[in-house]
Amino acid sequence: MVTALIFSGYGINCEEETKRAFELAGAKADIVHLNDLIAEPSRLKDYQIAAFPGGFSFGDDTGSGKAYANMIKNHLLKEIKAFVARDTLTIGICNGFQVLTSLGLLKGTLTHNTSAQFIDRWVDLKVSSDSPWLKGIESMSLPVAHGEGRYVKDQDVPVALQYTDAEISNHFDYPANPNGSDDDIAAVLSDDGRILGMMPHPERAIEFHHLPHWTFLKEKASRESMALPDNGPGLSLFENAVEYFN
């Protein structure tokens, strides 16, 4: 069975739904507290996927993701580097993405939204590069929920996802880009495509009722005698990760 390690602790708070998403996709997923991994770093060797979930590690104090990344740098850097050097997949979602840029595993940086406000809403995304995570996906809609999601480029970077105008932003009349990111960047990849950092939350979009307009879609489908999808759009990302190892 494909195995996924999900980081937790110090204010990470999306570990349960991230675990659920991996399990629905067919993986065996374990939530591991950062301190337990620091106490026993060799545990990383047991896993094929590492996930840094969303949350507010250390309350975003001194800048989102920074303090959590510092702890990893101080205690686990060697093991994390060995992990990503293997044929593994790594994902950082929201706060996890901020941890990965702070660790230097992904290029660029994330900072306060142009609005300087936290924002929770759905966005449309288009896929811009190849990656095991994104196989077969061209576009998808997912929710974002962040105060520091504005991606700032410092060099050329493989862009995974870009905010775009599509179904959700048309339905709700939202501007495409929720945070003022450079080039509408919502997610980036490592050069080899195996590390994905993304601000949107695929784990919050794995069931139909997660969609913000599902009551409308349900009514429409009933009038047109169409079937409704069982899953939300985010699940395919987790399925791709499991598929990569099968």
Binding site: F56, T111, A116, R150, F216, E219
Partner: protein, 997 residues
């Protein structure tokens, strides 16, 4: 911790890239009426670090605080031109969460446990030809002098060559009233002072230095009634002639205490008297709800509220879904065969008036602990909020006659409260799924801040009933979480009286969601299921004095060693340690054999847990401090020794009502555009959008509904990822009706909560409700009459609807006594307010109905439009029929008229669906229990058979126009009117952003 001979280093960090915080702040400060333009603004994040290390070592470690991709160490050359520098930091002793994280980062990178103190601050560099008055305005809006300090320098002063730095000797700590730490720079209460002898901002250290001798004092109760009265109202007299702050004990209570200590043959210690005051406070004992009132010997709570639940449980028989009601920190009902759902609503009104951010964050994080401390621990799954604000900022108010203690404006209160709940909820990873904001001028001094938390708890924990818990003699008393400081002294007694100039600033605190998140995860996700503790409760009002004494009831006694309580700084008095409400703490009873395993787990989760004593069966609450007995009294007296008071009510006369009812026209402007833009009805998207409502992946119906993003009256969550069962959440609140008819106000509030839940798809036979009373002037017999009428209606209508109360809370003195700008006395009482919160459970989330119109061609019907008094029997039978219609998927959209007039409801449904409507209405009268629906024309026949009395109002169309009788609006006009009032808070949707440097 006081550390001598420490190296002090100041780290200033500026932004390398566009700082959007600065540009948004510039925009908002530019809205002040300044005499000249504020041209630019930069923000510098600063940390003042004291450590037993070399400056070079500190600076090297501090590199970990900087993300060099976007930040840099501030030096003169990387600053833009500016004229003034303003620094805002915390006052001594105020919770500084950022500093706590910085300390952790430094210690972790040094890989050694060295003494480090950190103080965070921000420097705002302003450019502009600003006058003293301009600067005063800017500083006023940047900080709250009750918790923060401000300093200003001109750019010349800022850039001058360094003088010899002065360190901690700058700062003295002074005791004012009970306890208040004041740094030298803020002594002049909110006025700022130029400070000009250092390079940059220089170093200022706001540490707490307590120099008073720690001692336990005896309080002489062999005194006359006048002295007893003064002692009870103003507090214990200290040697320096100052009073420690309100005990809120009336003469009858003081005499009962006097009699008890005559029996004990001695005077009480200060800690005993303070402890009794906490335990007997209105805030903790709810005496007004407990005492006999008129002919009702059982009082309002037992006679009406609890009696209703008992009656309903009996009526429901084997369909009773209540599991643990009124006995715990939250109420618990059955969710499914394996889980219970818990619910609690709290208020945090008085602290939110003084420090809106701190009051609100402490409120939301505090009510989360009502879930964590319910049963053996319920996992918080959703937060709720309800705000009663004023939008009238015209008149300044002061707490004192000398006009030095200015109250914050209603706008500041609103912004701070909204922020506090955001930070508390978002940082805790608990979705804030629903809330409301209600505006009335009576809330301009003291807002009402309702905060609630739903939790999910397995029925069985470690094989045992999760609701059963009891400390046993011999169990260790363990306190975990945050440390104890001077913050939050006298919160319980303070909120039990009116707010005036003597209200203690120490009652104000700032919550720390991350400390709580760490222990919440460690308890709920790990320790609970290992069965490591026998009981758990939250530390709220009264701190450990209440939580330990409360748990001691379970086994019959306790003995506490006060020296073992971990403190934020040394020098606190015993009574302060005992009653401090410093936040983010839980108290547990742990069998000694489990302590090691429990403590190892907590250590590995970075949670501080400490044994502070032992539960006993001595029948007494015993507290020792520094080898002395500080407290030793009978538990029974502590909990039940307070004499009951016979309350008398008087029906308000017409004359009384005219004098006491706020003169505010409740006549709504009936024009549709005006209704849409009314602050009570307009879009609150700016709140919904900044609250994370999707974390945990449980959202079904989100706060904003339909294409047009209209705030819904209800929310729906699916708490278990692997089940279709869902919970529907709604509310009822009608404070503007209390002075007209309190009985019918309560009836309509209960009906509103039920009607809006049913409109969304709730089963009317599976709804539990919660009561929150926020009254004013509860020492007046007229207000007590209104209270009693309200409670009487609560009984009658809860029983008639079959909706049991499962939990409740009251706050009886929402009054402000102060002065207007002329120094004339003014009393502002909040409208007597009842909040009913409803929680319904349904089997299948997919049957839920949203309020937005779905398709052109659909028919619009009004159901159950009845005028006059609420007819519970008729409404309930209609609600049951409506539930069956929803179950057979007949309804395309629905909205109850619980919270708004019919015409407005129609327009909101159109805006939500972004579809046109054409309807004709007869008179738009006050109706209860009505639901407005849209129906697929193919289903309308079946629908009309089920609801033969349904009134067909009109049709949905593609015209993009709203036509109601003769009134006509374009959808675009209506949508922008609906969104306009708070649109300036929606930064992401503003077209242009102000210039960024």
């Amino acid at each position: 911790m006081i550390i001598l001979d420490l190296q002090t280093v100041r780290i200033d960090i500026s932004s390398k890239i566009k700082d959007t915080r600065a540009s948004q702040l510039l925009t908002s400060l530019s809205q002040l009426e300044l005499s000249s333009e504020l041209e630019s603004l930069q923000i510098v994040d600063s940390y003042t670090i004291q450590a037993d290390l070399t400056a070079a070592t500190i600076k090297k470690a501090a590199n970990n605080l900087i993300d060099f991709k976007k930040e840099q160490l501030m030096i003169a050359t990387n600053l833009h031109d500016f004229d003034f520098a303003i620094e805002i930091g915390f006052l001594p002793g105020v919770t500084d969460n950022l500093a706590k994280t910085v300390t952790m980062i430094l210690k972790d990178s040094l890989k050694q446990n060295v003494a480090i103190n950190v103080y965070s601050s921000q420097v705002f560099l302003l450019k502009g030809n600003l006058s003293e008055i301009d600067l005063k305005q800017i500083i006023d809006s940047l900080h709250n002098p009750l918790i923060q300090r401000a300093r200003i320098k001109t750019s010349q002063e800022f850039n001058r060559h360094p003088a010899k730095p002065r360190f901690a000797s700058d700062v003295d700590t002074k005791k004012v009233g009970t306890v208040r730490c004041t740094s030298s720079v803020s002594k002049d209460k909110g006025n700022f002072r130029r400070n000009s002898n250092k390079e940059g901002m220089g170093i200022e250290i706001p540490n707490v230095v307590l120099t008073n001798k720690q001692e336990i004092t005896e309080v002489d109760l062999n005194v006359d009634d006048a002295i007893l009265t003064e002692l009870g109202s103003k507090g214990i007299l200290d040697n320096d002639g100052s009073r420690r702050g309100p005990l809120a004990l009336g003469l009858d209570y003081m005499k009962a205490i006097q009699a008890y200590f005559i029996k004990e043959g001695r005077n009480p210690t200060d800690i005993e008297l303070e402890s009794i005051a906490q335990t007997w406070s209105e805030h903790c004992k709810h005496t007004i709800f407990a005492d006999p009132i008129d002919e009702l010997k059982d009082g309002l709570y037992k006679g009406y509220i609890k009696a209703a639940t008992n009656q309903i449980r009996k009526d429901k028989g084997d369909k009773d879904f209540c599991v643990s009601v009124f006995s715990d920190n939250s109420g618990a009902i059955a969710f499914d065969d394996e889980y219970l759902i818990t619910h609690k609503m709290e208020t945090h009104n008085s602290p939110s008036a003084l420090d809106p951010f701190g009051g609100a964050i402490t409120g939301i994080v505090g009510v989360n602990r009502d879930a964590i401390g319910c049963g053996m621990g319920s996992r918080p799954i959703a937060n709720l909020y309800g705000y009663c604000f004023s939008d009238d900022s015209k008149q300044d108010l002061y707490r004192d006659k000398e006009l030095t203690q200015k109250m914050l404006s209603p706008k500041r209160i609103m912004e701070g409260v909204i922020d506090g709940v955001r930070v508390g909820g978002n940082c805790s990873g608990i979705p804030t799924v629903h809330g409301f904001s209600y505006f009335h001028p009576s809330f301009r001094a003291k807002p009402l801040v309702f905060v609630g938390t739903l939790g999910l708890m397995p029925r069985l924990v470690n094989g045992n009933d999760s609701c059963q818990k009891a400390a046993r003699p011999g169990d260790l008393i363990v306190v975990l979480g945050g440390r104890v400081g001077l913050d939050g002294i006298h919160g319980a007694t303070f909120s039990s009286v009116e707010m005036d100039s003597s209200s203690p600033a120490t009652a104000v605190q700032i919550g720390d969601p991350i400390t709580q998140k760490k222990f919440s995860d460690a308890i709920i996700k790990e320790a609970r299921d290992k069965g490591l503790y026998s009981s758990i409760t939250d530390n709220g009002a009264g701190g450990i004095s209440c939580s330990v004494a409360e748990m001691a009831k379970e086994c019959g006694g306790c003995r506490v060693e006060l020296d073992k309580v971990p403190l934020k700084y040394p020098g606190m008095q015993a009574w302060q340690i005992w009653i401090s409400e410093s936040q983010e703490r839980m108290t547990l009873a742990i069998p000694p054999e489990n302590w090691e395993e429990f403590n190892d787990l907590m250590k590995s989760r970075d949670v501080e847990a400490v044994v502070i004593g032992e539960f006993t069966d001595s029948g007494r609450c015993q507290v020792n401090y520094q080898g002395q007995t500080a407290m030793d009294i009978e538990l029974e007296f502590l909990h039940d020794g307070l004499p009951s008071r016979q309350l008398q009510t008087r029906k308000p006369s017409q004359e009384w009502l005219e004098q006491n009812t706020p003169v505010v026209s409740l006549q709504l402007d009936n024009d549709l555009l005006a209704l849409l833009a009314n602050p009570n009805y307009c879009s609150k998207e700016f709140i919904s959008q900044q609250y994370d409502h999707e974390v945990q992946g449980i959202s079904v119906l989100k706060p904003l509904q339909g294409r047009g993003r209209v705030n819904g009256d209800t929310a729906v969550i699916k708490p278990r990822l692997d089940s279709k069962k869902a919970a529907i959440i709604s509310y009822g609140l009608k404070p503007e009706e209390t002075d007209i008819d309190p009985y019918m106000m309560a009836a309509r509030s209960i009906d509103s909560a039920i009607a809006s839940a049913v409109a969304t798809g709730a089963n009317p036979d599976y709804i539990a409700i919660l009561d929150n009373f926020c009254w004013c002037s509860s020492d007046e017999s007229e207000r007590l009459y209104q209270l009693k009428e309200t409670a009487r209606a609560c009984y009658d209508y809860a029983v008639a609807f079959g909706t049991p109360f499962i939990s409740g809370k009251d706050s009886m003195f929402n009054d402000f006594k102060g002065y207007d700008t002329n120094g004339d006395k003014i009393k502002i009482s909040a409208l007597p307010t009842l909040l009913i919160s409803a929680l319904g459970i349904i089997d299948d989330y997919s049957k839920v109905v949203s309020m937005d119109l779905k398709m052109a061609g659909d028919k619009l019907y009004l159901l159950n439009a009845t005028e006059g008094a609420v007819d519970a029997k008729a409404n309930l039978s209609f609600y049951r029929r409506f539930y069956s219609a929803v179950q057979t998927e007949l309804v395309a959209s629905a909205m109850s008229l619980a919270h708004k007039p019919l015409k407005l409801a129609l327009a909101q449904k159109a805006i939500a669906g972004q579809l046109g409507i054409e309807v004709s209405l007869s008179e738009d009268s006050k109706i209860s229990g009505a639901i407005l629906v849209s129906i697929d024309p193919l289903k309308s026949k079946r629908f009309e058979t089920l609801f033969p009395k349904a009134q067909l109002l009109g049709e949905v169309n593609e015209t993009k126009r709203i036509k109601i009788n003769a009134e006509e609006l374009s959808l675009e006009e209506a949508t922008s009117a609906y969104r306009a009032p708070f649109s300036n808070y929606l930064n992401d949707q503003k077209k242009e952003l102000a210039g960024v440097n």
